[in-house]
């Protein structure tokens, strides 16, 4: 029983009928880290989280959460876990405050001062009935309930979906706080930039398999920036620069992706050539996946097999 690893799975498998939702997942979350759990919709993030919470029983492989088996020892594991589901549903006739009180009471009682502060910072009116809450407000209820009592592991499944940018900032601040208190966080997301801001290490899932796992620095090759520029610069000249990829040119318009370390040089070249319009966007996870692993999950898992997980079964996805 290693105290250093908060979550440890080996070859985790779960199938629903003939679909392999999890096809041999290796996931390691160390004590005191914020671990990003990335993947496009339907990659198996929520399924993996449900297995880690003991809500689903794995079909194969092993899972240890806080040193215990999450299925056999669910109650003991839950004592030290705070969970925010991806899609929060509340009880329509109970108010938000009642839902928060219920959930924290079941976990042993909220820290009252903390609860009050969270309500204030998340700007939630706890007296309203849950049926009148928007998706973002329901999300806030679950977040406040999870954060209002200290836990050793916070499992957050796409926690910022439905939150506005201001609230995302509050959320990030709270994650920093619980990490500073020594807790670990497993943060699932399909937004790369959210994970970049919060996480030290990342596991990327696709079609039930781990395709990348490591520190953000190790995954730097994934984080290219997309440029769309109105310029008279010579397309061939730009394309020759190191770190420029996938250049497409129309008259007066260039679109290309740039490796992070090459941004400086590309900008200098552009400035010299003259720029009329400029759009710079971080790449979406989807486009990253399409580019990096191909659109065919079978192909991507074959390519990823060398660096990432190994699954025993040779079955079709």
């Amino acid at each position: 029983m290693s105290t250093d690893l908060v979550v440890e799975t080996r070859g985790l498998q779960k199938r629903f009928g003939t679909t392999a939702a999890l096809d041999g997942i290796d996931l390691v979350v160390r004590a005191g880290e914020v671990h990003g759990f990335l993947g496009p919709n339907g990659a198996g993030k929520s399924t993996a989280i449900r297995v880690l919470l003991g809500l689903l029983r794995a079909d194969g492989g092993t899972a240890r959460v806080l040193g215990r088996d999450p299925w056999a020892d669910a109650v003991a594991v839950h004592r030290e876990i705070a969970y925010v589901p991806g899609d929060v549903a509340l009880w329509p006739t109970l108010s938000g405050g009642e839902a928060i009180d219920l959930l924290t009471r079941l976990r042993g009682g909220a820290d009252t001062a903390l609860r009050e502060r969270l309500l204030r910072h998340f700007d939630l009116d706890p007296t309203k009935k849950a049926r009148s809450y928007s998706k973002g407000n329901r999300q806030k209820v679950a977040l406040i309930a999870a954060l209002a009592r200290p836990a050793r592991l916070y499992v957050l499944d796409e926690p910022t979906s439905g939150l506005d940018p201001l609230m995302e900032e509050v959320f990030r601040h709270e994650v920093e706080r619980v990490r500073a208190d020594g807790a670990s966080v497993l943060l699932s997301s399909h937004l790369l930039d959210e994970v970049e801001k919060l996480c030290e290490r990342v596991t990327i899932l696709r079609a039930g398999r781990v395709v990348e796992s490591g520190t953000l620095a190790e995954l730097r090759h994934l984080t290219r920036t997309s440029f769309r520029v109105g310029t008279r610069a010579d397309p061939a000249g730009i394309a020759r620069l190191p770190g420029v990829h996938d250049l497409e040119s129309e008259p007066g318009q260039l679109a290309f992706d740039v490796d992070t370390e090459a941004v400086q040089q590309v900008l200098q070249t552009l400035v010299v050539a003259g720029v009329s319009t400029l759009t710079v966007t971080p790449p979406s996870l989807e486009s990253l996946f399409l580019r990096h692993y191909g659109s065919d999950p079978e192909d991507s898992s074959a390519r990823a097999a060398g660096s990432a997980s190994r699954s025993g079964s040779g079955s079709a996805p």
């Binding site: 449900r50 919470l53 809500l55 109650v75 839950h78 929060v88 509340l90």
Partner: protein, 176 residues
């Protein structure tokens, strides 16, 4: 045990309006219908006529059971029991579904299931709520029967089967 109580309180609070309407509605129906039966079939001749007629109609017996004698209590039972039992059955089925399958379907169960509680705790607390509600209906309807002039023993004898009948659909629905 603590978590069961917490959940029972949450369920009662969540259903505070709906359950009050059900319980008071059924009580009013039992009281109102019983007093109507007594008014309509007040004298022993009418009661005898009604029972004789019923005994000659197998379809009626199939739905309502065989009447037990000629007292006003047995007439009330014969006229009312099936309907009230169906109502209580529906109440319990809805209750068990609302706090069971519907919770899972809507994802609310996940919020509860991630807290330190046994896997059976939500089901047990739903059963407790159902039993509390059924006992309450039994007590209140018995009181209603006593109020319209039936004997206490007769009222309890009528209402105990309500609770028992109710348990069947509830337990089915809870246990899925």
């Amino acid at each position: 045990m603590g978590t069961v109580l917490t959940l029972v309180r949450m369920r009662l609070r969540r259903d505070r309006v709906a359950l009050t309407v059900w319980v008071l509605g059924i009580t009013a129906l039992v009281g109102g219908a019983s007093s109507a039966v007594i008014t309509e079939f007040g004298d022993p001749d009418q009661q005898r006529q009604l029972i004789t007629l019923a005994l000659a109609t197998p379809a009626l017996l199939a739905f309502r059971g065989v009447p037990n004698g000629f007292s006003s209590g047995s007439i009330i039972w014969f006229q009312l029991f099936t309907w009230v039992a169906v109502l209580i059955g529906l109440l319990n089925t809805f209750l068990a579904t609302r706090h069971g399958r519907a919770e899972e379907q809507d994802g609310r169960r996940e919020l509860l299931a991630s807290t330190p509680m046994g896997r059976m705790t939500p089901m047990v607390s739903t059963l407790v709520v159902g039993i509390v509600v059924d006992v309450l209906i039994g007590v209140l309807s018995a009181a209603a029967l006593v109020a319209v002039g039936e004997s206490v023993v007769g009222a309890v004898a009528v209402d105990t089967p309500y609770g028992v009948t109710a348990a069947v659909p509830r337990d089915r629905a809870v246990g899925r």
